[in-house]
């Protein structure tokens, strides 16, 4: 696809997305809002998994830190949900900076385990630091922000706000990936030794990426807490981290659209199909299995490959 055609396609898609609340019921609008939050979280993790080649199994931590700190500030500091957001994001940045510094001492399975372990420590804190987190009662009694006097309590208003934020965030992530920094990042994934030899600070590039991935997950976390108005330790559990990782890989790590598609599929199966299929966990597993068997590179690149083959096959019967 040429870039002009791509821009038109994205523009049309956004326009259609913006019109959805005019025709759809609240349930579907809310479902889409959740898909967008999940998509942003997956896209942020994709920076690590797809572009840096670092498989993290603790990414829900950053969503959790942002959501918890935003909720806590909202409840205890007198700051509104909007004013809490920058502070919550700052806190998430700090946590990501420290976690990245520790986790990047290893790579491969060691990195995966360190991110898992660090996230489990946070999860333990969420359960046990009852004075701050209320333990497994979770934090509740929160409100949604009212930017410029707009009331985000309605499903449609929240959806438009989320659409705006997520579109901007995904756009910035896309810019980052296509920037010289993004090229260098892919270099550290494919040829770390050569990049080192060329004078790049591989560690620094990875660390900065880790921090940025944490930041965008934090943005997803702020949207998450605004949406749910509730946070519980399960939101940063191993299962939550595994789910977003699976979404990234299933959709196609290292592509811009892949994680978005993966997140949409996972939320669709988990929140929609689960109402009709009692064994939806099994179905989710089977979907992953089928993806691996037939589209091992992920849904988006896999389908693209099939289409290309189909087209070239049509040309040469």
């Amino acid at each position: 696809m040429t870039s002009a055609r791509r821009s038109i396609a994205i523009g049309v898609l956004l326009l259609v997305a913006a019109l959805v609340p005019l025709v759809a019921g609240d349930y579907y609008v809310n479902l889409l809002s959740q898909m967008m939050i999940a998509a942003l979280l997956a896209a942020s993790l994709n920076l690590l998994v797809g572009y840096a080649g670092l498989t993290s199994l603790g990414h829900a931590s950053f969503l959790g830190v942002a959501a918890y700190s935003s909720a806590w500030l909202n409840l205890h500091s007198g700051l509104g949900p909007l004013a809490s957001a920058p502070l919550a994001l700052l806190g998430t940045l700090l946590v990501a900076a420290v976690f990245g510094w520790i986790a990047l001492r290893a790579s491969g399975l060691g990195f995966l385990m360190l991110t898992l372990a660090l996230s489990q420590v946070l999860w333990g804190l969420a359960y046990r630091w009852v004075g701050v987190t209320e333990g497994d009662n979770g934090l509740r009694g929160l409100t949604r922000p009212q930017p410029l006097g707009l009331d985000l309590d309605s499903a449609a208003a929240f959806y438009w706000m989320a659409l705006l934020v997520v579109t901007i965030a995904l756009g910035l992530i896309a810019l980052l990936v296509r920037s010289p920094f993004g090229a260098a990042l892919r270099g550290t994934r494919d040829q770390p030794r050569r990049m080192s030899a060329l004078g790049y600070d591989v560690w620094l590039i990875r660390w900065l990426t880790f921090v940025m991935a944490g930041f965008w997950a934090g943005v997803a976390g702020v949207l998450y807490i605004w949406y749910h108005q509730y946070i519980h330790p399960s939101s940063l559990s191993l299962q939550a981290s595994a789910e977003v990782l699976l979404a990234v890989i299933a959709g196609g790590a290292g592509t811009l659209a892949g994680p978005v598609v993966g997140a949409v599929v996972v939320v669709f199966l988990k929140n929609f199909v689960s109402s009709y299929v009692e064994r939806w966990n099994m179905l989710l597993g089977i979907v992953f299995l089928l993806i691996v068997l037939f589209l091992p590179e992920g849904l988006v690149p896999g389908v693209k490959r099939l289409l290309t083959r189909l087209r070239s096959g049509a040309l040469r019967p």
Binding site: G138, Y230, S275, E278
Partner: protein, 416 residues
Amino acid sequence: MSIGRRQFIRAGGAAGGAALLAMPAITRAQSSTIRIGLMTVKTGPLASGGIDMERALVMYLKERNYMLAGRKVELFVGDSAGVPATARTKLQELVEKNKIHVMIGPLDAGSALAVDDYIRAQSLPTLSVAAAEDMTQRKPNPWFVRGTSTSSQCSHAMADYCTKTLKWKRMALIADDIAYGHEMLAGFQRVFEENGGRIVQKFFSPLAVPDYGTYLAQLKTNIDGIFLGFAGSNGFRYLRQFNEYGLSSKVAVVGGMTALDESVLRNMGDEALGILTACWYSAELANPLNKAFAANFRSEFKYDPGFYAAATYVEGAVLETALKSVDGRIEDKVAFMKALRATKAFTVRGPVAFDDHGNVVGDVFIRKVERKEGRLVNTVQYTYPSVSQFWTYPPAEFLKNPVYSRDYPPARNLEP
């Protein structure tokens, strides 16, 4: 499942066709149908209790041909998988898509708290199964009634029984390190110590503990007994390991309302015999309603109904009684909610009424595990009639204290 046609068309446009493929056939909802939502857990580790909740409620409705107070009812079931954020999503679905009038559930405290403000915003009458204390205490939800009990409602009674009838003086406590466990132990401790006993050890074990050996090795044997505040499979494993360490001959065991539930006894052996627990239900209750319910449930599913099955069966009866008193007009939410809270019904657990905060006032039974017709059952030993969530304390005074927790009331008699 049924969706109004207009809603369906709007939805179809929304999903751009993708979601459409998954849509089941449409049946037009009758305007006169009462739509009940059951929020439960059918997948994941909590599924056992959640499936019983659905089975018992379906049984209740089937026995009435899906007619309550002269109106047809329809049941929609949401599976939260025990994850609070999912519970919220599922409730939105039940409310916004299925247009339920009333919710029964959820099972776990986290899910109940996660949907608390949504219930308020939607003014959705809710008959809860979850035990979270403050939802009917310091932060009462006006749309909430709870026909089961708070976490500590039965452990107050168990503590009273331990001091007054068993004459115990020194005890150890253990529970899962979650709010449910904290609240249950706190209530037990308060009554036990105010009656002159001493809690000398208190353990909270993390949820995902494979092995309790480390806790068993610390247990003092110069005590009168230990109280188990577990839920689900943890109590089961604790007790088996307790037995393994030869402790059963040295330390007596009593338990809270879920520790030796009928669902646990299904697979237990003789190690459970003789253990006393306090609960607002037993499959062995001799009232005629329960005799029929337990027998029917057993013949259909081949096991005794326990806490979770009884919970929704009781809530079903509360719902029906309230509906009758408003002639089935559930659409008038305020009047219906008032009727729910004013409900006085005789159910499988015995008489049920509600206090000003929407929590049940009902009998609590001290039960003993015995073998009967080859299976383990909880035989009723003693009945505490009309137990309130505030036990014998004046509500205003009770509510002045902080909510029961890990640290409140403080344990002053712990021994190193």
